[in-house]
């Protein structure tokens, strides 16, 4: 049995393995992001950061449903100035460990000027790449309202690309009729990669009290229930664009990672799986995928990216 290399890349961004931490999970503090790296992730995506501090929605902000997690955090973040301290601490932690781990700075904004400004401020903190959150399903005026409009997506990406030199990834919402069309608009705007998918619009009602369970009433669904939705999105996008795709949505085991890769993902992001399998889940998923590849004679992860499109 030969050894399979798990190295991958998103354009020019080289990763030691395909597993990244998804935005919004364990990424408010430098300590947690370093723990995620120690747990085997190749890199972390930060919480989505804005100009000013934002407390987010009232609790409950996250509950477990039958096959996934329902959340409406509401883009809580301390603002870029305070968050820069966490980034500095993360980077010195990585330097002290002497390892290769990437940090992708997620930003949100209300329009293309906001995004360009935030991208510039985030780039100044020393992150390796940017992720534009044009897809948060439950923060009014931000996120998905931009991400469902191909013209706005093109404008935002192109404004950001004009403002920074870093690779720019665009995180897409599945809550549109044709996600590949939005991906295409991101590519036309100059995106270096797209990330699919963000959470799926969802809701839960407590029938005893009649109240919606979430403080924000409605939110986004993540976890195993949305994996087929994410795989389909990646599959559709792969046929439409030539830039790399980062798959995300319901990955909790090695086989899930491989499924996303065969649909066309060069790397993946993992979030809710932390709830199901705790922090070491990143390394475990990579190990599971590696064993699967080796048992079947593959010599590298990269070989299977987009495989389903070739057979």
């Amino acid at each position: 049995m030969s050894l399979a290399s798990m190295k991958t890349s998103i354009g020019k961004t080289e990763l030691v393995n395909p597993a990244l931490l998804a935005s919004g999970i364990l990424d408010e503090t430098a300590g947690s992001m370093l723990r995620v790296i120690d747990g085997g992730a190749a890199g972390c995506v930060t919480k989505s950061i804005g100009r000013e501090a934002r407390g987010g929605h009232p609790n409950p902000t996250m509950v477990e449903l039958q096959c996934g997690l329902l959340n409406a955090m509401g883009l809580p973040n301390p603002g870029i100035e305070s968050y820069a301290e966490e980034i500095a601490e993360f980077k010195s932690g990585i330097a002290a460990r002497g390892i290769d781990a990437k940090l992708i700075g997620s930003v949100y904004g209300g329009d293309e000027k906001d995004f360009a400004m935030m991208a510039g401020l985030m780039a100044n903190t020393g992150v390796d790449a940017l992720e534009l959150n044009v897809s948060c399903p439950h923060a009014r005026g931000y996120g998905a309202q931009i991400g469902s409009d191909p013209d706005m997506v093109r404008k935002v990406v192109s404004a950001v690309k004009g403002a920074v030199k870093l690779p720019v990834f665009v995180k897409l919402t599945p809550n549109v009729s044709n996600v590949a069309l939005i991906a295409k608009a991101a590519e036309e705007g100059g995106a270096d990669a797209v990330v699919a998918i963000n959470t799926v619009k969802a809701m839960a009602i407590d029938i005893e009290s009649g109240h919606p369970v979430l403080g924000n009433k409605v939110g986004g669904y993540s976890g195993p229930a949305i994996k087929p939705i994410g795989v389909r999105a990646v599959y559709d996008i792969y046929k439409e664009v030539n830039i790399p795709i980062i798959g995300v949505g319901g990955i909790t085991k090695g086989q899930d990672l491989l499924e996303y890769a065969m649909a066309g993902a060069s790397a993946v992001q993992i979030g809710s799986a932390v709830y199901y399998r705790d922090v070491p889940v990143f390394g475990e998923i990579v190990k599971e995928a590696k064993s699967w590849l080796e048992e079947r004679g593959f010599s590298s992860f990269k070989e299977i990216v987009g495989r389903t499109h070739d057979i």
Binding site: L26, S32, M62, V63, P76, S82, V213
Partner: protein, 265 residues
């Protein structure tokens, strides 16, 4: 699996102090909670906040200090009103296996998780000394219950209105100087706990402290309550040992507001 709030009726409300009320309710999940574990209490349409479990069993209880919007609204509830419960969450206090001499130190509302810990320790045959502090006599939560227990009970208040005038840590220092304690369990203001942890390290007595942080998910995912090297107070805690806390730069220094911004304690 699902883990959404379980709506239950308030069976009894007891005014413990001018600022604390105890709410009793039935919940199969909380019935088996360990001392030091917490639950998330949901007030539909208002908020959901973490609360230490004060009593666990056929009927369980939380004791709520009136502090912010949600706790004020909780204080306005009546018997028969409904609340939602998730949990129990967190690790809770673990008691020694062999019969031991335990020192417990409670400050203010920190008495809540200490109450079931003392009860469980006595059931298990440990001897317990409790140092119990608050601002003034009126706020010495559960004082009558503790007085009825077979424990060494040292009260102290900031204003001297009950027991010794001074801090729990002053009493702790004297007691630890005489020696003989096998472990320390503490819950209260973090600045107090930081001193307790330092005393435990100095006297070489294992110390366990239960921390409080602003919480959101309660299940170790959102990172709101994390301290130090990614320790989640809701999942890895809320109880940490003194040696671990010695490595946590945040401990006794800063916490985080809802946005994640650091605020000094």
């Amino acid at each position: 699996m699902t883990d959404t709030p379980r709506v239950t009726e308030i069976l009894e409300i007891v005014s413990e102090t001018p600022s604390h009320k105890t709410f009793r309710f039935r919940d199969a999940g909380i019935a088996t909670a360990k001392p030091g574990q917490f639950l998330m209490v949901w007030l539909p349409g208002v908020d959901e906040i973490p609360m230490g479990v004060a009593e666990a069993g056929e009927v369980s209880a939380i004791t709520v200090e009136k502090l912010g919007d949600c706790t004020t609204k909780l204080h306005e509830l009546n018997v028969g009103d409904k609340i939602g419960i998730r949990g129990p969450y967190g690790n809770g206090f673990s008691l020694p296996k062999e019969s031991s001499n335990l020192l417990m130190i409670a400050g203010g509302t920190g008495a809540v998780p200490i109450l079931p810990t003392v009860e469980r320790a006595l059931e298990a045959g440990h001897s317990v000394t409790l140092i119990h502090g608050s601002r003034c006599e009126d706020l010495l939560l559960y004082a009558e219950r503790f007085e009825r227990m077979d424990i060494g009970y040292h009260k102290c208040t900031d204003d001297g209105s009950c027991g010794m005038k001074g801090f729990t840590t002053d009493v702790a220092e004297k007691l630890l100087d005489t020696g003989g304690y096998d472990a320390i369990y503490t819950c209260g203001p973090e600045v107090m706990m930081k001193k307790v942890v330092a005393l435990g390290l100095k006297h070489d007595v294992p110390t366990y402290a239960s921390l409080e942080r602003y919480m959101k998910c309660g299940v170790g995912v959102c990172d709101q309550c994390s301290i130090g090297a990614g320790l989640r107070v809701c999942k890895d805690g809320p109880v940490f040992d003194g040696e671990t806390l010695g490595q946590v730069a945040d401990f006794g220094i800063f916490k985080r507001e809802a946005s994640g911004k650091r605020i000094n304690l």
